[in-house]
């Protein structure tokens, strides 16, 4: 029983540590996913360690994500965002685990062509020319828009989904796009 008592104490300490870590983080909630993407870009440019995460169930509306940030830096981060016209709707302390974006890539080698899938989005490139030849998957309305803008373009010159996309599907396509660029050394 002494062993069990020790384990219980250790577990409690771990739980406390997890909880402390979570409460030291907050989330920035925005009007739409497009603003999240812009704010993430801006904060990363300023050197902040922020992460895009899934919102907790109580504030979930549909196709959305939030930015997790160090709560202690709230005032400085809000100042940067407000100056750039990207003030969030609200900031909320993190009190429970957040959903993490997909971080697994599935690769399909078609010889001359390479397809990378991130979550539900697939991007295919001609390895000889580095031209994007197809984009498939997804369900949000910016997918056909992104495909129209990117298919037929060289990897190096194509608009990035992060810049012109608005949704989680657009964000997933960005991950596939970055992975294809990495694999094609672009």
């Amino acid at each position: 029983m002494a062993h069990l008592g020790f384990l219980k104490k250790k577990k409690t300490q771990e739980n406390l540590s997890d909880q402390q870590e979570r409460t030291e983080r907050g989330i920035l909630v925005f009007e739409n996913t497009g603003e999240v993407i812009q704010a993430e870009n801006l904060l990363k440019q300023h050197g902040w360690e922020v992460r895009v995460m899934g919102p907790p169930p109580e504030i979930r509306q549909g196709c959305d994500m939030v930015i997790e940030f160090p709560l202690i830096e709230e005032l400085r981060i809000l100042k940067i965002l407000t100056t750039a016209g990207l003030a969030p709707l609200k900031t909320v302390p993190v009190t429970s685990p957040l959903l993490q974006p997909v971080d697994i890539f599935q690769i399909r080698d078609y010889g001359k062509y390479l397809m990378v899938r991130a979550a539900n989005m697939k991007l295919t490139v001609d390895r000889e020319t580095n031209i994007i030849v197809n984009i498939s998957g997804g369900g949000c309305p910016d997918v056909p828009y992104l495909a129209a803008a990117m298919v037929g373009q060289p990897l190096a010159g194509a608009p990035s989904p992060r810049e012109i996309g608005h949704t989680l599907c657009g964000y997933a396509l960005q991950l596939a796009y970055e992975e294809v660029r990495r694999r094609c050394s672009v």
Binding site: V102, A119, I135, S136, G139, P144, Y145
Partner: protein, 291 residues
């Protein structure tokens, strides 16, 4: 009659409702025209082509421009809520739309009061929002690919972007993913799962498997899932059972793909051109003639 609801990637495209006519690479709906490309336009083009082969009325479309900011989608949800009680669609296929839970719930409240209840098919964003809302079971058919099936199977993921890794790793275990989706009430009455093999499933498991002809590159071609959804929608609306329609649609889509001699760079319009002959061949094999 079949109604297809979705978006086109142009914010200037105003809300348009009407019968669809396919003219070369253009869809015409009244005075409006849309280029045939991936997304709802590909679904509509496949549906209009199949309806012509079957000598069925051309589908009705309800479209709005939306490039991802959701403004057009909100107008379309509101419009459908207003007009559905006055329409008598037998089949409604819901496609690329911004997933917005509260609008979906409002729309389902209206659909729930329709008599007779239409057959409801959801793909893409509308399938996502049906699952996010916890109302997947109100639908007759979802058409996910294997990645989207993993999302349906993950009871905690509100969008495919958040599908947990241990479930994504089960891509090759389609029967397990199907069972998990039904166990958590996150699947429609039937599922067509698109992939290397196409499956029709319900809560009892896999009902049908179609794996010929094989064209591995079809997965890379944007719009091949949309054409399958368009085909099955028309076949169901023409009076086939879901099971019969699903098998015919899966075979037709594969055959049209094969006849296009595709590469990963093939565009969906090149496959849609082969749908009439492919559908005729499949109908002939299963002893059905175009009506």
């Amino acid at each position: 009659m079949l109604c297809i609801v979705g978006t086109v990637p142009d914010d200037r495209f105003t809300l348009t409702q009407g019968t669809v006519e396919l003219q070369g690479n253009e869809l015409r709906i009244g005075q409006a025209s849309v280029g045939v490309n991936r997304g709802t336009a590909a679904l509509l083009a496949a549906a209009a082509t199949a309806a012509a082969v079957l000598k069925q009325p051309a589908p009705s479309a309800c479209l709005v421009g939306d490039t991802g900011n959701g403004k057009g989608s909100r107008k379309l949800y509101r419009h459908m809520i207003d007009v559905l009680p006055q329409k008598a669609f037998q089949t409604i296929t819901l496609h690329y739309l911004q997933p917005l839970i509260h609008w979906h719930k409002k729309m389902q409240a209206v659909i729930g009061d329709l008599t007779p209840r239409p057959c409801l098919i959801a793909d893409a964003g509308f399938m996502y929002v049906a699952k996010m809302s916890g109302e997947a079971a109100l639908y007759d058919l979802f058409t996910p690919d294997v990645g989207e099936l993993a999302f349906l199977a993950d009871e905690e993921a509100p969008h495919p972007f958040y599908t947990r890794g241990f479930i994504l790793h089960e891509n090759n275990r389609v029967p397990d993913l199907i069972a998990r989706a039904y166990r958590h009430n996150n699947a429609a009455r039937y599922l067509i799962v698109k992939g290397e093999k196409d499956y029709l499933a319900d809560a009892s498991g896999i009902l049908e498997t179609v794996d010929h002809p094989v064209e591995e590159v079809l997965e890379a071609i944007g719009g091949t899932g949309d054409t399958l959804t368009g085909l099955v929608s028309v076949l169901i609306d023409a009076g086939m059972s879901v099971r019969e329609a699903a098998v015919a649609a899966m075979r037709t889509n594969r055959l049209a793909g094969q006849r296009a001699k595709p590469t990963p760079a093939t565009q969906i319009g090149d496959i849609i051109r082969h749908i009439p002959r492919a559908l005729e061949a499949v109908l002939s094999e299963c002893g059905r003639q175009a009506e």
